[in-house]
């Protein structure tokens, strides 16, 4: 899940455009981080040293790892260790951006190191499956400070990210959150919650993104923003809210009640509400939470 926030960081720093990032997130599925990116990430090599080895590779027919060992930049043990980290998604994103010419090794190295420093991240955190660090990043990114239900809101958004990755896909970038006054809706699925978490939760998107999101969840190609698209998007919201309700009940012994979903087109979203906007290759979708 770090990949999505690292993507947002690159976007906010103006290092990539939204279109470049969307394309890279789609392409990264077929990309594995290569040794240069892995060595930069681990701090074993500088971007300049990686560039040197790449230049040398033009002359000598040797694999990057063997050449880096021969040039004295890496040991064989380091090469083995690095290759075991190829699965890290944020590095695959970096590799994709470098290979498509959006960033150089050096720009990627600076961005990654600054991102790690700003968020006090280590490689152990990136590999951490307990999710403690990602919860911290989400809590920091979506600053619910001052909200009476701050902790529940953070848990809600954390689970939302996990469910989007699980049921829709990981090729999105979160935009910086906003607390907005009332606003116009496009195509919306709405579900209210009562009890321990009183809220109105809304999934909203322009027509084509609404259809695409529904298609991904349904696992089939939908062509219209019709009853089937409503039903699929409404069910995603209901499923997410249901799983949140189960977590809150199990972990806090607090009960939340869900109301049936409603749908609207071109109505009003009552503020103030938090807007969680996500940019997918097919367009931007928004989740609103009014508490």
């Amino acid at each position: 899940m770090f990949t999505q926030f690292f993507g947002n960081y690159l976007l906010n720093k103006g290092l990539v455009s939204s279109a470049q990032l969307s394309r890279a997130l789609s392409d990264q599925k077929n990309t594995r981080a290569k040794l240069g990116v892995l060595a930069i990430n681990a701090g074993f090599m500088t971007a300049q040293q990686v560039d040197e080895v790449h230049a040398e590779q033009q002359r000598v027919d040797m694999r990057m790892g063997d050449l880096a060992v021969r040039m004295g930049y890496l040991t064989n043990e380091q090469v083995d260790m690095l290759l075991s980290q190829q699965g890290m998604a944020h590095l695959a994103l970096g590799q994709t951006l470098i290979e498509s010419g959006v960033m150089t090794n050096s720009e990627f190295a600076d961005a990654l190191n600054n991102y790690k420093a700003e968020n006090s991240l280590t490689d152990i955190d990136f590999a951490d499956k307990t999710g403690n660090k990602i919860n911290e990043i989400i809590a920091h990114f979506y600053n619910f400070e001052g909200e009476p239900q701050k902790d529940l809101l953070t848990e809600y958004v954390t689970l939302l990210f996990k469910n989007i990755i699980r049921f829709i896909g990981d090729d999105f970038t979160p935009l910086s959150p906003e607390k907005i006054p009332s606003t116009r809706s496009s195509f919306s699925a709405i579900q209210k919650t009562e009890g321990a978490f009183v809220s109105t939760t809304i999934f909203d998107a322009a027509e084509s993104a609404y259809i695409s999101f529904a298609s991904r969840y349904a696992g089939e190609t939908l062509t219209d923003a019709d009853e089937m698209a409503d039903a699929a998007n409404g069910e995603f919201l209901n499923l997410h809210n249901g799983l949140f309700t189960v977590n809150v009940s199990n972990e806090r012994s607090q009960e939340i009640k869900l109301l049936p979903q409603e749908f609207q087109k071109g109505g009003t979203i009552q503020g103030p509400a938090y807007r969680i906007a996500l940019v997918f290759p097919f367009g931007t979708v928004c989740f609103y939470i009014a508490v």
């Binding site: 969840y217 409404g234 249901g242 309700t245 189960v246 009940s249 199990n250 009960e255 049936p260």
Partner: protein, 123 residues
């Protein structure tokens, strides 16, 4: 009872869920699948069709799944009603089982879960 001779009533306000569940049931060889989109309609359809199994969502308009479960069981105490909901909290589970639900499936429901349920009933 064989799967081919089975009649299953799916009750869910989401057309998407009804369509998905119906497709999986058909793949399991279930002979007849009928659908209701709210609790009230489910009770009516149950009385008319006497299905061998009813899959019941909980959060629905007009009448909740638990209310519909109670109404169905008062019409036929032997009815097999399986709750199928995203809200599988201990409280909902207890309420449904106490009200006489045959089983409780937490959404998202996998094809394998549904297949096992059909096997359990046709055994």
């Amino acid at each position: 009872m064989t799967a081919e001779s089975m009649k299953v009533l799916i009750c869910d306000d989401s057309m998407f869920v009804r369509k998905k569940l119906a497709a999986v049931l058909k793949n399991c060889g279930v002979g007849e699948v009928i659908e209701a989109s709210d609790g009230e309609q489910a009770v009516e359809m149950f009385k008319e069709n006497k299905p061998d199994l009813t899959l019941m969502d909980i959060v629905m308009p007009k009448m909740t799944g638990v209310e519909a479960l109670k109404a169905i069981l008062s019409a036929d105490p032997k009815a097999k009603v399986v709750m199928a909901s995203s809200v599988g909290t201990q409280e909902n589970l207890k309420e449904a089982i106490n009200a006489g639900a045959f089983d409780f499936l937490q959404k998202p429901i996998s094809d394998a879960q549904l297949e096992m349920l059909i096997k359990k009933i046709t055994k």
